[in-house]
């Protein structure tokens, strides 16, 4: 027990090693695919090989006859078993939400759209039986290019909608045209944010287990959002909510791709209800590539009105956002969630924002790490570098002339967001120092002068982002169906241990460790005496799960408040036990003591035991040391930072190689610096991956060409550098922990830093854009086939797709 003599050091702020790791490094994990209740049936899904076709016949009868096959169904067979999958965010009045059935009924709209399901006693048997399902597809023209999809007479992805435009969204902040009228320079660029595959290392998996006679179901799912799954599975299948328990056991990464409600969850649940046996599905990686959401996929037209001295006056943004074939949970909201981040850290006077969502015959898009903010940050940080080059101003200097000064916080941006705190100057200074900026610039000049075949480029990204989704009222105003609160319970057990029940749903972030640290300090108990309970709707009835860098900002605050309420309750009981007035009792580091009477003490553990025995209780106090907190944030938090990338570009081969990567992030107060640094590393890696390696490519038939890990280049260890990280710490003023969120920062910041570095290395050779990913081929083409043109890659969103391939080199197109 903690006594005054052995007062423990605060856990918050320490790089404590993770509680999660013991089972993970020894293989004592429980992934969804490791759950196989007795009598489990396995399903396999027949997926459409056509991007767009009418189903004139789906015949599963031969499959049903195969040994080991228990059942097989087409979409029409299961028409009464479930409804359409949910879309949770109505983004505009004209927004269209087409039906999206777990199994296609009459039309398939992307390669991977599920057509039939086979249920068998073994995994292999189910896959074998797919061969026996007979389907007649009547091919329809395929819609792939967003701009073509919007032209009159285009083939429709959804014929009942009469258009391929999902929504249009427009917002004006001030009079952009007035800014343009008084500007010396109107700088216009088109940036392409390519389609990405999130690639959580664990493919999705679902197990639905019916409880005989109780009409109830346990659903294990590799999901970020077990609480959402419970609500929406009830709505989709009609099973009452209180009859569904959702468990997200160990979940192997998500990055937004598991922030969704998927067809396979509904199919497993519906089949478990029909067949009365456990039903299981686990994706293969290739299947996951088709049937799990993709990310990004935007065409971004950016226009900045500026003075010749480099004062940026107005910002115009016009986006085309590829929805894919259907809307998943948040599909149309993603580009719009990013809209506030286009003005970034700059003091624009006016901002005009326009976004069009477009249906195509591809896998649906949705949230991928950053969810709108990496897209915004990529284009604005590219544009600022490109504008600087256009004006002949040093890119850092242009930023300094326009960013919000540290003495200007809180600052209300042109979008109306109030940034609570930050210090862009300090983060930048620290980054420059770690980077050795001046000497690298000198080396760059030397290499240019000597016409070195290997040129050096320096890329800058000074980003901010909004974290801590989100005030429920704000979400409601924006058209979202749910809230943004988080809820925690903290309780003391009879023998003086602490349990935390919290509604965030970790899948690699280390919540158990971080929340243990917060709780240990608040209760004054040892770190090891705290247990954190998550990821099971039966144990954690209230929660809104994990996404949007919200878990610490919102969930952690709820934990802290709940723990403080436990102390308040314990204080009443301690006063009673000490025969003192509660106002005379002080609490510090786990011990209650009476002011002025040093010997009169009770530890919180002693109070917990007294509460358990309940032999003597204070009047009006209840016997149990437990407290809840519902945290609904009033506003957001705004991490920021400066990322610098030094890139060596071999002008003879086009190979771009990162020589140095420095990031200084300000994520406010830090609970566990080791975990925070790890989040930055992983985030930066994913951002670099977008810049240099990854792209989901479709051919002109709508086939996902990068359909396996052989073809889609997830970076391996030799493909990435080590990172130099630093921090500045400007506490958030919007929550008591002073934290800002870190889960997405690295991904948001790094992509533009890397591409800016590539372009900077070869800008003097006439290149002013290289389309992502900056492969050697693209860099080489940009150098050797000219460049410097306004809107490269305008033709299409389909890389390697005929003529559009020629435009990916960066330049030439007006």
């Amino acid at each position: 027990m903690t006594t005054t003599e052995e007062r423990q050091a605060p856990a918050v702020g320490q790089p404590l090693r993770r509680k999660e790791d013991a089972r993970l490094v020894t293989g004592r994990t429980r992934w969804t695919d490791s759950v196989t209740p007795a009598g489990t049936l396995h399903i396999a899904l027949l997926r459409s090989p056509m991007a767009h076709a009418r189903l004139s016949r789906v015949d599963v009868s031969a499959a049903r006859e195969l040994p080991g096959v228990v059942a097989a169904f087409s979409g029409t067979d299961l028409a009464d078993d479930f409804g359409s999958l949910p879309m949770a965010w109505t983004v505009s009045e004209d927004a269209k939400t087409p039906s999206h059935f777990p199994l296609a009924r009459d039309t398939v709209r992307y390669v991977g759209d599920a057509v039939a399901v086979v249920v068998a006693s073994s995994r292999y048997g189910a896959v074998d039986a797919l061969e026996a399902v007979e389907v007649d597809y009547e091919p329809l023209p395929v819609v792939l290019d967003m701009e073509q999809a919007m032209t009159a007479g285009s083939q429709l992805v959804h014929e009942d909608l009469d258009t391929n435009v999902c929504f249009t969204f427009h917002e004006e902040h001030g009079d952009y045209e007035a800014s343009k009228a008084k500007a010396d320079v109107v700088f216009k660029r088109r940036y392409i944010n390519q389609r990405l595959i999130p690639n959580a290392m664990e493919p999705r998996s679902v197990v639905a287990d019916p409880t005989a006679g109780a009409d109830s179901f346990t659903l294990w799912s590799a999901t970020q959002v077990p609480h959402f799954v419970r609500v929406f599975m009830s709505l989709v299948t009609g099973i009452p909510e209180h009859k569904i328990r959702v468990i997200a056991p160990d979940v192997g990464g998500g990055f937004g791709s598991k922030l969704d409600i998927y067809a396979e969850e509904a199919i497993c649940l519906a089949l478990a209800r029909r067949l009365g046996r456990p039903v299981k599905w686990t994706a293969s990686r290739s299947e996951d590539y088709q049937a799990t959401i993709h990310g990004r996929d935007l065409i971004q037209d950016i226009e900045i009105a500026a003075t010749s001295e480099g004062k940026m006056l107005g910002l115009r943004v016009d986006l085309l956002s590829d929805m894919g074939a259907y809307l998943q949970l948040l599909t149309p909201a993603i580009p719009l969630l990013g809209r506030y981040m286009y003005p970034a850290i700059y003091k624009f006077e006016t901002h005009s924002f326009h976004c069009t969502g477009v249906f195509t015959n591809k896998t649906p898009t949705d949230a991928y790490r950053g969810a709108g903010r990496p897209e915004a940050t990529y284009s604005i940080e590219r544009a600022v570098d490109d504008l600087a080059a256009h004006l002949g101003v040093e890119p850092l200097e242009l930023r300094r002339r326009n960013w919000i000064g540290h003495d200007e916080f809180p600052y209300t941006t042109v979008c109306g967001l109030e940034y609570d705190s930050g210090n862009y100057e300090a983060a930048t200074e620290k980054a420059l120092e770690l980077f050795g900026y001046d000497s690298l610039r000198a080396e760059q000049a030397k290499r240019r002068e000597s016409n070195d075949p290997v040129q050096l480029g320096i890329g800058i990204s000074t980003y901010t982002e909004m974290c801590g989704l989100a005030p429920s009222r704000w979400l409601g105003e924006k058209g979202y169906v749910a809230g943004g609160w988080e809820r925690a319970t903290v309780r003391m057990t009879p023998l003086g241990k602490a349990e935390v029940v919290v509604g965030t749903s970790p899948h690699g972030q280390g919540h158990v460790t971080t929340f243990s640290q917060i709780t240990a300090d608040a209760l004054g108990v040892p770190f090891d005496d705290v247990e954190v309970i998550v990821n099971d709707t039966a144990a954690v009835p209230w929660g809104l799960d994990t996404y949007g860098s919200r878990s610490l900002v919102v969930g952690g605050t709820a934990v802290r408040h709940a723990a403080e309420s436990v102390v308040d309750k314990a204080k009443l009981l301690a006063a009673h036990l000490l025969e003192a007035d509660p106002s005379d009792v002080e609490f510090d580091a786990g011990t209650f003591r009476v002011k002025g009477t040093p010997s009169a003490t009770k530890t919180i553990q002693e109070v917990a035991f007294a509460s358990f025995t309940a032999h003597t209780m204070a009047e009006g106090s209840d016997a149990i040391l437990t407290a809840d907190n519902l945290m609904d944030p009033e506003t957001f938090s705004y991490p920021h930072g400066t990322h610098l990338c030094a890139m060596e570009v071999d002008t003879e081969t086009g190979m771009a190689k990162i020589r140095k990567y420095v990031c200084v992030d300000d994520v406010g107060k830090v609970v566990n610096p080791m975990i925070v640094e790890g989040q930055v590393h992983g985030g930066v890696a994913q951002g670099i991956a977008q810049a240099l390696y990854e792209e989901a490519v479709y051919d002109d038939g709508g086939n996902l060409v990068t359909g396996t890990m052989v073809d889609y280049l997830v970076p391996a260890p030799p493909d990435l550098p080590s990172f130099e990280t630093g921090r500045t710490e400007t506490p958030s003023t919007t929550n008591p922990l002073g934290v800002k969120g870190v889960g997405e920062a690295g991904t948001i910041a790094s992509t533009p830093a890397v591409v800016n570095a590539v372009v900077d290395a070869v800008r003097h050779l006439g290149v002013d854009d290289v389309r992502m990913p900056c492969t050697p081929e693209r860099v080489w083409r940009a150098i050797h086939q000219g460049g410097g043109g306004g809107t490269p890659a305008a033709e299409g969103t389909v890389a390697y797709g005929g003529d559009s391939t020629a435009t990916t080199a960066g330049g030439g197109q007006a």
Binding site: V25, G27, S284, F723
Partner: protein, 154 residues
């Protein structure tokens, strides 16, 4: 069906298997060794890496029948009373987040260190190139292997 014998993490087993059954599915579904996960279907990710007769293999690329008579060590059999130094170093250096790649990554790192007890950073990165991680950016993975090499985790 084929009859195979195998020692898995010290346990002697005899099983009937389909000739086409992958070793990883045998381990997970018949031998109860679910600590070894499957991350892809093209032998790129390395999550399923185990040791077969002293050699590191991706168990998604070996048939169970090919391992007949062999000795398999998975992540669950790596610790010998106490954690292997690589396991300790992974925790100490925060070389994992979601942990899905971790079993394969640890098995590959153990093998790397057996062949090269003092690798530099580039040798570590090259040595682990058959294993993918989406969480860590490999930064702390490299550090963990270095720590294990230096005996810092012993």
């Amino acid at each position: 069906m084929a009859r195979i014998q195998m020692t898995v993490d010290g346990e002697r087993r005899e099983d009937e298997v389909e000739p086409r059954l992958l070793l990883v599915h045998y381990l997970r579904e018949q031998a109860g060794r679910v600590g070894t996960p499957v991350g892809c279907d093209t032998s790129n990710c390395g999550a399923c890496t185990v040791r077969l007769d002293g050699k590191t293999v991706k168990s998604c690329s070996v048939l169970a029948v090919q391992a007949d008579g062999g000795e398999v060590t998975t992540i669950e059999g790596l610790a010998n009373g106490e954690w292997h130094p690589v396991q300790k170093a992974f925790k100490e250096c925060h070389a994992l987040q979601c942990g899905y790649c971790t079993p394969g990554m640890i098995m590959a790192a153990v093998d790397l260190l057996e062949h090269n007890p003092n690798p530099d950073e580039q040798e570590i990165r090259d040595g682990l190139e058959g294993n993918l991680c989406r969480c860590t950016g490999y930064h702390n993975l490299v550090k963990a292997v270095q720590m294990a090499a230096e005996g810092g985790a012993r």
